[in-house]
Each structure stands twice: as structure tokens, then as C-alpha cells.
Symmetry: C2
């Protein structure tokens, strides 16, 4: 009570009820619209009456049910006296058409104040970060507000403490895989190299040595295939949390799609903002929150390095590796990083089915498996064997692969996840439409452009069309005769093959020449600079 | 054509048609949804087929009609084979339900690349800024993208050149008031002081001296009243461009709502982002683009200064003034700025009707008009008279006001805009519900809290309820006896009065004490810091 004023209210009723809230009773108009966020649409006049503007929040009550939603405003679509409810809000309120809701303006979530401070360069405490992540997961923040947060992290780099807090919060706001009594091993690649099927060989190799490695993978976002897309050509990958646990309990490993379980779900909301802006300030917490969510104690991280991938130089790779290792310490995860050659595809196949075929062939006939793939599997699994204290760790992976144990384990995975363990490479259907690209001159392959490989494979239909992609007959350093096949393009649909061939014709994918040439390309006319952005985690 | 490759396509058709585009024919599903932005909703499977993700763009063609829209994705709401069209897109395509559209993925607008560069701190060229503003006005950028742009300006301050380019672009992408053969004068206030009705006296005063001053004003965003809200109690203010021209041609001035004409329309899109984040990086271009759009040659800018308004100190006011003057040079507008006392309301009335009444009384009885209001009108009009080369510029305004010419001109404005020129103060209805706030102790008024004045007036219903607001009986420095009325609260609805009284009880609006006290307030418990953000331009 103010110490100065005395109130004399003429023409008014009892002054002692309610706080200073304007409230209205509005009838429900169901909009039958999907939206993750709790959005309601008010008529402009009602919004003015309530003194709310677009992006403000209202609280709605009906009996004991209470929901807070973000306000959008319409002139006519929602008439006066009504509140338009998106399906989610309507469902959560259990509200019927025409039912009256008590609607009041309410404050935005506390986390918005933290976001505003972060925008100004203030660094946040762990509990503040936790509230933001929680509100993101629970869809309480608008696109504008989430964008502001992500951009604040982009503009004012996160401190180590913030990165750790983000990782933990992104982890605990989702599901956790809880495998008891085992040390958990895991592997991750920063991505960017087409055809990188390493995980599909590494996981069974590592598990064949008795280690526990519950691998979750993503589907491709901007790549021709993610490990989940490849693996799906062999068996189901969309297992729930309990199914994953059962598989891992049984065989010590899995190769599943992370998207079917809710591991670090905040990441999806952040990707929604990062993708159109081609920024990736959340790389570290995004990767490590998922590792933490599967309970990893030891993680090996592959950092493909080179032109056309995220990390261009070994020194950049070292910087990134140190950040991962440091973050690992905060999260109690032992991290080892390997910078690998990232300037050409791994193996020969690009695209889900072509890669799955290559994986199956490689484990069945390891001696004729692509050397780069075998070497990667050997090195990365070696890091995990080292953590596990295995003797001869560096050589163990290739030994296991060559012994046939990798194949046996992979077939166990296929079987445990519900596939046919007898599957043969020929059973995997690849695109029936094919184009062969031959060399018009003799020489040697001097370079392969990963970006254009990816583009061409996607135009051919990958990853959506599982059988689409590229198959390389020549790779870096190979000798080429005039008329030799350089690569093939596979597609499921004639039109897509046509477009992919066009793209390959116009944009050279590989450079063949007799001698090394200082001239990499002649650039005849000014072109809009293309923005090559890889958002694969 | 690649110099290396030769293509042999098996099982394919003619390779020589189309670029590398995946196209689909999708049936129109009208969504009957309002949205300013061109948004379409695709089924997830079709989106994957087209290789587009949420926030990507698609181009749709039907005959010669072509539209680009931003992609949203639904699981069920839009079935496979359909494209869900928001009303705007449907209308612009002239598309009927079930009609088939040719849909292809397309690049985001060029301006997005500029926004990305700006995010990294690059400064933009004028033509790049122009493209961004144009795309904002034409609704081609998503909320995420516009947020990124506004935040890039917030994080990396605009250069003078950028501010000038923004101002020009915001101006030319909207309507322009083209009054020929006259020097155009204008006035603007940075805002933040409740009850600031200066423009309603200044405009007729300046015009009475023969100057041309086509004043456009805003409605309140976060204030209890904007000049357009106040003026609307006297006459219509939503005049179109031609009507404004006719009024100005006839009487040399107007007092209209800027929102009825499309002056610098980009500003609304920027405010949508700035408001929830409580940031205002576009203050300068926002103000000056509108001045340029009415063709102003001379502008006086009022910078209210003090606690509780945007600009806290005279030195801050000077900095801001210099920026306005500098920007004016770029735009060929002569600018003069005045820092005015902003620590209490102007005059006594707060809220549209109470202020309109006070204005009418003040021009009719200038001798008993509030002294602060008269002084402000005198000083600010004096700056314009100085520009116009009038003799005795500094005293001329008050002279005109006292001569009755201001009243005469104001009544001409009312008449020209379609109001009743005979209107009397008593004709303006104020809220029938009233509460009187008396002092419980004697002393002197040491401070008035503008923020709480604004809050209380808005809770009472202003500006939506025209008659709601506050009427001050005592102001800074006034002597108060126990039981004296400090102020009254007016409302149109009992509940709102009740809430406003509650708010006034809990949050002291003015400080009365016998002696000046170093103790401004006792703060008993920790409170969430309130964020006082004024977005009034």
C-alpha cells in the first residue's frame, strides 16, 4: 500500500478483489491447425482490450485447466469474442468449440529476460540456460525469441561453462538411455564427407571386441545419406527407448535413428533457426548432449578435414578437438579426436542403398574393401580400444574386420533390430535408372569436389530415394584412360537422373589431368558466391 | 559442359531439357488462413521429394502466374499431393481448390546472403540494404531472417552510411506525400513522457504563422495515448494520401494518423521483432524515413530527457541529437533537437479524451494553460520559426497561442479532417467511472514516476478506452496538504477502474514529503527487475 495516497473511488464496486488484471471471457474457435508452439489467435479489438500485442502471452483458464499461449492477431479470421485455438492448445485445454475461456494477459517466461541479457553479451548462469532450454523444448518461446538466443550465442561466443551447461540442459530435457553396469563407448563424426559409412563397420567391430556401443545416428539434413538412412536399407532403425535397451542388453550395440527417441530434443528447435541462417554455434553442445544422453563414458570424434568440409585445416581441427576434450571433462566423458582426410568421398558408393551395399560387401570381403574405409574404421576403433585398455588397440579393429567377426556382429544387429540377418548385397535395391560418366581424356584424378558430389547425389534423389546416388570407379590419385568410367549416377526416377546428369555435366565433380596444374578452374563470368553449408551433426 | 566427362545415360530420356530442378504437380488446398507472408504448407513426404525443408522456398506456377512462398511442413494437415495455400498466396495465384500447381524448390532471396554477412559484422552497401528493406516490405523474408537482420544491426551498430541508406530505403519502399512548391516543416518526439500533447498545439501554431506542416502521428504502442489517439477525440485521423494532400493544400497543415497511409511500411515489420526483444536499433531510420516520406525540409526533434524515459541524461541527448543532425544532412533535411525535461507528465491529463480536452481548453484559454505545455510549444515551434527565418522566432509561438490564432487553426484542422469545428471541451466524453487519490500527509511533490503513470493509465483502459486515464491535480514542486487530491483515475469500465486503483495503491505514482529525502524507496523483498521499454516513435 502506498504510504502517501488515500483512495476515494466514486462509482466503483468492491476494490479488494483480484490483482491488476484485465480479463475477458472468449469463446473457443478451433482452428484445426498444427503448430508445435502454443499459439492462439485473437481478434484485434479483443487484443487491444486485453492490452496484448502480437508475440505477447495470454493465460487461458477453463475449470482447473490452465495454458499459456503466444498471441497472434487477426482482423476477420477470428471474430470478436472468440479465441482461435491451434490444435495443440485446444487438445491440452480439452476445450470444445464455443466453450468460454477466461483469458488474461500474462508475462513472458523468465527465460526471455535471460535471452535479452545474453544478447547484450552477458554470460548466463547454468540455471538460466536450463530455463531457456526447457522453455525451448516445451515450445514456450517464439521463433523471434529462439532466433535471438541462437544469434546471441553466435555473436558472443559461449564460455566453456556455458557450453557445458547447454550440453547438460539439452541432455536432461530429453530422454536418457540408461544402461546399467557397463562402460559405454560411442563415436561421432563432424560430417561433411559424402559416403562416410564408417559407423556401420566401426560399431560391430567395437562390439565384437566386447565393448558396449549404443550408437544413435541422424538422417541426412543436407547430405546424400545419414547413417540412419544407410542402415535402414538393412533393417528397421526407428526403435523406441525400450527397444534400444533390449537390443543393447542382448548384443552390446545398436545402429538406430536418434530421431525416433527424444534425445536432446532442443536441438531440433535450434536447427530450425540455424539452418536458414547457415550458422552452427551449437555444434559442441549438440553433439555432446546426445552422447551424454546415451550415457557415454568414452567417445571418439572424427573430424574430417579439408576443402569442402566444415573444418578446413589440421590446426582448426586441433582447436575444435581441444574444445571437445575440454567439454568432455565437464561432462565426465573421455574424448579422443581424430582429424581425417576429408577431400574425397569415403569408399565408392554415395546414397543410402549404394552405401549399405558397400558396407555389406566390405564386411563379407574385407580384403577387397575400400582401403580408406578400412583405415578409418581401424584408427577410430583403435581410439576406443585404447580407452578400454585393450592390448594391440591400434591394430585390433582391422584384425576383427578381417576375421569376419565384424560381419557376424553386423548381422546380429540387423537381426536384433528386426531385419533379415541373411541379407546379401544383391538384395539391396539400387536405383534402376543409371548414367555412366566417362573421361574424355587420359590422366590422373587430382581432385574430387565433395560439394558437387553431394549436390548431384541429392538431385538424383538421395536420400529420399534410397536407391539414388553415385558410384565412383575412380578416386584421388587413380590413373584414368580416355573412355574410362569415372563414376555412375543412379536414380529411381528418369527425370531425377536427367537432372543429376545435367548437374554433373555443368559442374565438374572431379578433375582429371595429365599433370598437376596450378589452374584449378577458369571462371568465365561473375557468379553469385554459393554458400556451402553443412548442417550434419 | 565439363571438359573431362562424357555422359552415357542408360535407361534415360532426352537429357537436354530443363535445368537441374525437381518439380512436382500439387493440388491446391486452400487453408483460408490470414498471414502477411506468402506461406505454403507441404506434406512432409512431398517436401522430402522436392528436397525442401521448413523455411526453404518453393516457386509455384500456374499458367503465367508465378509466386514464391516460404515452406512450412505438416504431417497430416495437408495430405500428400497437395499444397496448402494461405489466403494471400491463393489470392495472388488466383488458384482454385483442387487446381494443380507446378511446384519447384527455389533459392532464397539474395537479400538473405546480405543478412548473413551483416550478422558477421560486414557493413552493407546501400543497394544491399535496399534489397533487404524491399524484401521485408514485400514479405519475402521469414521471421527468423528479419530477426537476424534486426539483431545484426543491434549487435554491430550501423554506420552513418547504413543509417542513411536504411532511412532512404524505408522511405522509398512506401508511399510519399508530395506537396509541391512549399518548404515542409515537421516535428517529432522521441517519446516516453505520458500526456505529451505538444504536437496538437504546435502544429496549428506553426501553421498559423504560414508554415506548411503535414504532421503524421502514431497511435500508442506502449504509451497511454499517441497523438493520433488524442486527435481522434476531436475529428477523424485516418485520412488517405489524397485526403491529406487536399487538407494540407487547403489549410497548410494536418494532424493525422500515419498508419492509414503506407509511409515507411518496413517499420511495422521491424517493430514486430523489436517489441518482444525490447530493442530499438532502428530508432533513427524509423523516425527520419517517415519525415523524408512527407517531404520534410526542416524538422525539430524533441528529446525528453530524464529518469524513466529513453534518454536519461543531457549528454546522452546531445549524442542522439548529433546523430539526427548528421543523418539529416545525408537526407537533405535540416534538423534541430531540443532536450526537454522528461521526469513528469506534460500538463495534467493522461489518456486520449482527457488530453484532447486539455488541448482544447489550452488553446481556448491560453492564459490558464499548463505552463510546461506552453513552454514546450513555444520552444519547439521557435526552432521551426528560426529555420523559416521568422523574426522574433523564440517568442512567436507563445504569441500566436495567446492571440487565439492557434485555436482558430486547430478548429480549421478539425473541420478539414471532417470533425465538428465548434466542439467544446465538455463535448469530449471522459470515463464515467472515477477514483480520487488523496494525500495522506502534507508536504511537497518531489517526484512522479512516469512508468507507473503509464502503467496505471493503461490498466484503466487507455488508449483503447478513449475516456480512460489519469488527471493530475498536483505536479512536481506543488505544495500538498493532507487530504488534497493528488490525481484522479478515469475509466469506462468498473473492473478496469478497480484494477487501476489497485495498481496505484501498490505502486506509488508520486512522492510527497515535507523535506527532500535521500531515501527514495524502501525495497522490502527481492523483486524481479522490471524491464521498462518504450517503443514509441
Amino acid at each position: 500500500m502506498c504510504a502517501v495516497c488515500e483512495v476515494h473511488a466514486g462509482n466503483t464496486e468492491d476494490l479488494n478483489q483480484h490483482a491488476n488484471i484485465i480479463l475477458m471471457f472468449l469463446k473457443v474457435k478451433p482452428l484445426r491447425l498444427e503448430a508445435k508452439k502454443p499459439i492462439v489467435i485473437l481478434n484485434r479489438d479483443d487484443a487491444e482490450e486485453l492490452d496484448v500485442k502480437p508475440m505477447d502471452r495470454v493465460e487461458m483458464r477453463s475449470g482447473k485447466k490452465k495454458e499459456v499461449a503466444i498471441v497472434n492477431i487477426a482482423e476477420k479470421f477470428v471474430p470478436r469474442g472468440y479465441v482461435g485455438l491451434y490444435s495443440r492448445v485446444q487438445k491440452e485445454m480439452g476445450a470444445k468449440a464455443g466453450e468460454r475461456l477466461r483469458v488474461t494477459a500474462t508475462e513472458p517466461p523468465e527465460s526471455l529476460a535471460s535471452i535479452k541479457r545474453r544478447l547484450d553479451g552477458d554470460r548466463l548462469e547454468s540455471d538460466e540456460i536450463h530455463k531457456i532450454v526447457k522453455d525451448v523444448v516445451e515450445e514456450r518461446l517464439s521463433d523471434i525469441e529462439i532466433t535471438a538466443y541462437v544469434l546471441s550465442l553466435y555473436t558472443h561466443q559461449m564460455t566453456n561453462k556455458e557450453i557445458a551447461a547447454m550440453s547438460s540442459s539439452m541432455c536432461v530435457t530429453g530422454d536418457m538411455l540408461n544402461i546399467k553396469g557397463k562402460r559405454i563407448f560411442d563415436k561421432h563424426s563432424i560430417g561433411g564427407v559424402p559416403g562416410d559409412k564408417t559407423s556401420m563397420l566401426l560399431v560391430p567391430t567395437v562390439a565384437a571386441a566386447g565393448l558396449t556401443i549404443p550408437k544413435t545416428s541422424s538422417r541426412a539434413i543436407t547430405a546424400p545419406a545419414g547413417t540412419a538412412d544407410r542402415m535402414e536399407c538393412l533393417c528397421p532403425v526407428d526403435l523406441g527407448l525400450d527397444e534400444i535397451k533390449a537390443v543393447v542388453d542382448q548384443i552390446g550395440c545398436c545402429l538406430v535413428w536418434g530421431g525416433a527417441v527424444d534425445l536432446a530434443p532442443a536441438d531440433d528447435a535450434f536447427i530450425r533457426v540455424e539452418y536458414p541462417l547457415s550458422i552452427d554455434p551449437l555444434l559442441l553442445p549438440s553433439v555432446m548432449s546426445k552422447k551424454k544422453a546415451v550415457g557415454a563414458n568414452y567417445v571418439v570424434i572424427d573430424i574430417p578435414t579439408g576443402r569442402g568440409v566444415k573444418v578446413k585445416t589440421v590446426s582448426d581441427a586441433e582447436d575444435l578437438a581441444n574444445k571437445f576434450i575440454e567439454l568432455g571433462k565437464h561432462l565426465k566423458i573421455k574424448v579422443s579426436c581424430v582429424s581425417t582426410f576429408g577431400e574425397q568421398p569415403i569408399g565408392r558408393g554415395i546414397g543410402p542403398a549404394l552405401e549399405a551395399r558397400e558396407v555389406l560387401k566390405s564386411v563379407m570381403h574385407p580384403k577387397s574393401a575400400p582401403q580408406d574405409l578400412v583405415e578409418k574404421v581401424g584408427k577410430l576403433s583403435g581410439e576406443l580400444f585404447e580407452f578400454a585398455g585393450k592390448r594391440n588397440a591400434a591394430a585390433l579393429g582391422v584384425e576383427i574386420l578381417k576375421s569376419g567377426k565384424t560381419e557376424k556382429k553386423l548381422r546380429e544387429i540387423i537381426s536384433a533390430q528386426g531385419g533379415d540377418p541373411e541379407i546379401k548385397p544383391g538384395d539391396i535395391e539400387v536405383g534402376p535408372k543409371r548414367a555412366i560418366i566417362k573421361s574424355t581424356k587420359p590422366g590422373k584424378v587430382w581432385w574430387i569436389d565433395n560439394k558437387r558430389v553431394t549436390e548431384t547425389a541429392r538431385i538424383a534423389g538421395a536420400p529420399k530415394d534410397r536407391g539414388a546416388g553415385l558410384l565412383f570407379h575412380k578416386k584421388l590419385g587413380d590413373t584414368v584412360k580416355r573412355g574410362d568410367v569415372l563414376f555412375e549416377i543412379y536414380a529411381e526416377k528418369p527425370a531425377k537422373l536427367r537432372h543429376a546428369v545435367k548437374a554433373a555435366e555443368h559442374n565438374c565433380i572431379m578433375g582429371v589431368a595429365k599433370k598437376f596444374s596450378m589452374v584449378m578452374a577458369e571462371i568465365p563470368e561473375e557468379k553469385e558466391q554459393e554458400n556451402y553449408f553443412i548442417l550434419e551433426r
